[in-house]
């Protein structure tokens, strides 16, 4: 058996020898983001190779705040992402519940349309959405414009439908025999049971809103109504701008999400993997 064990050891060593450099390459941009955010601008644009953090983060942050009101933009981003997540979880879980637990006329059509939108590029709805929200509703540069149009999502509904349909029937039937109304069954029995799935959905939706770029870029372009990624994006490509400041902003956008990712990894992965296991 010892030759088998040594073969296993060799395979294990080969695996780690291959995977470790790849993992380091993958972490490198994130590491450099942190390093750049702590370096003065003349350090970033110097010929030496710097791979370790310095102590300039606060100065860089002050430079960023001088270039654009980043704190204000972060406040908008947080409020919008929280509201969006709450509303979207409500809408998608209700729709998922209906699709999972009831038989009704037109169900097949609804499911087919939701599946169809997965393969439809967002670009097709972008222009009319913009015309409608900006010109017809006159809602450009408002929070409503940031929150409401992105509320429709297809993968979330399919995820919730799958979660609810895995629950045992008798649970709900028992309540129905007692005469409990359907919406109460949904709120007081189904939702608490679906808590882990709702957590996964919340994280994915929050992240989507937090990182959303194209729609906020188009609809909330006035300074003072921009989200944090849009505010940061306006600085990229300007000539007289602090790159250390831009990196400080990038760190502020990224590191909180990385922490959430580490703490709630299981939910995160469940949310993303939902498409794979039908």
């Amino acid at each position: 058996m010892s030759s088998l064990a040594s073969a296993r050891l060799k395979r294990s060593i080969a695996l780690h020898l291959f995977l470790t450099p790849l993992a380091l390459i993958w972490l490198f941009p994130l590491w450099m983001m942190v390093v750049f955010s702590t370096m003065p601008d003349n350090g970033i644009f110097s010929p030496g190779i710097e791979l370790l953090p310095h102590g300039n983060f606060i100065d860089n942050f002050n430079n960023l705040q001088r270039d654009t009101d980043f704190v204000g933009a972060i406040v908008i981003s947080v409020c919008v992402a929280v509201t969006y997540t709450f509303l979207s979880v409500m809408l998608t879980s209700m729709a998922g519940w209906a699709l999972a637990r009831y038989q009704f006329v037109g169900k097949g059509v609804v499911v087919a349309i939701i599946l169809g939108t997965i393969t439809l590029p967002y670009a097709v709805v972008l222009i009319p959405q913009f015309i409608m929200v900006a010109r017809d509703f006159k809602l450009a540069n408002t929070w409503v414009a940031l929150i409401v149009p992105p509320l429709f999502n297809s993968l979330g509904v399919l995820f919730m439908r799958q979660s609810f349909s895995m629950m045992p029937d008798d649970l709900f039937d028992a309540a129905r025999v007692e005469g409990v109304k359907e919406w109460r069954i949904y709120v007081f029995i189904a939702l608490p049971l679906a808590r882990p799935m709702l957590a996964a959905l919340c994280i994915i939706l929050f992240l989507a809103s937090w990182n959303n770029y194209l729609w906020p870029l188009l609809i909330n372009s006035q300074p003072g109504s921009m989200t944090a990624p849009v505010a940061l994006g306006t600085l990229i490509g300007l000539t007289k701008v602090s790159w250390g400041g831009i990196m400080a902003g990038a760190v502020m956008l990224t590191v909180p999400m990385l922490i959430v990712f580490v703490l709630l990894q299981r939910h995160f992965i469940a949310g993303i993997a939902a498409g794979a296991v039908k």
Partner: protein, 286 residues
């Protein structure tokens, strides 16, 4: 499962309402707008106006060519890499699995703007860490931003970095849903690991791979932020201009909604065609 139309639609109404207003109507509307001349007020119906311009527009064919080039190279390379990541992360021999998972999955939470900014700095000609490292091992610097080929490569590298882990998560979940005893039986029959991968994992994973490929193709088809921010508005000289960028430029810089809608529908047509081809290629044999 109970047949209750009223109850079901009460739960569905808010969702379907948002869907109708912000998706169904826009899908119809942008189709109609693509047949209108939108640079004059009021807009007028002119069926050949935008579509006629589209088929004779070198800027459109340049963007189409770049988008398809990225699609053909980047998507298969990324799915293959994601597959490799998933297989290796799934290996029972792997120690410190959590650390490796973090390394590959972390880019999933990073926003487009944040990572575009980092990539721009890392790849800059004289002060970018990538060129410095290339220099230090005796290789020449690469001018990532002024030449088309390196600029395209940079876009593909950036997108691959951001999305490979995302696809690896989906593929890994798919692999873990393959019953263990299939592999055990194969191992008892002395089927090598490599053969197990090609004859068990790949065929059973086909629907998941197709799902990843379709999502990636739709995403890459609309590629916007990376050429917008990293190679600065599709530079050098339109060398990394994509359909997404052309749509942005036409729709929101020139406010030419009709032409931009025609571009959008071209993207949709391509996406649907590619999806159908994939579904056909991976159809269940009868």
């Amino acid at each position: 499962m109970r047949n209750r139309n009223a109850t079901a639609y009460r739960f569905l109404t808010p969702y379907l309402l948002i869907f109708a207003i912000f998706w169904v109507w826009p899908i119809i509307s942008s189709f109609m707008i693509s047949f209108q001349a939108t640079r004059t007020v009021p807009w007028r119906f002119a069926p050949g106006f935008n579509w006629g311009r589209l088929i004779g527009d070198p800027a459109f064919f340049n963007a189409l060519k770049n988008t398809l080039l990225i699609l053909v190279i980047q998507v298969p390379a990324m799915i293959a890499l994601a597959m490799l990541m998933a297989v290796l992360l799934n290996s029972p021999l792997l120690k410190a699995r959590g650390l490796y998972r973090f390394a590959f999955f972390a880019p999933v939470v990073v926003g487009e703007v944040a990572y575009s900014a980092v990539f721009r700095l890392m790849f800059s000609l004289d002060f970018g860490i990538v060129n410095k490292l290339l220099n230090s091992i005796g290789l020449p610097k690469i001018d990532w931003f002024s030449n088309v080929t390196p600029a395209m490569a940079l876009i593909m590298i950036a997108v691959t970095w951001r999305w490979a882990g995302y696809n690896a998560i989906i593929l890994l979940a798919g692999m873990q849903s393959i019953p263990e005893d299939v592999y055990e039986a194969a191992t008892l029959d002395r089927v090598s690991k490599l053969k197990q991968f090609f004859y068990i994992t790949l065929p059973l994973l086909k629907p998941v791979i197709v799902f990843c490929a379709v999502l990636s193709i739709i995403g890459t088809m609309q590629l916007f932020t990376e050429p917008f921010l990293i190679t600065e508005r599709g530079g050098p000289g339109g060398g990394t201009e994509t359909l997404g960028l052309l749509l942005y430029r036409q729709g929101f810089r020139s406010l030419n909604f009709g032409y931009a809608s025609a571009v959008a529908y071209t993207m949709a047509g391509l996406a649907i065609a590619i999806t159908l081809v994939q579904l056909w290629l991976t159809r269940e044999p009868k």
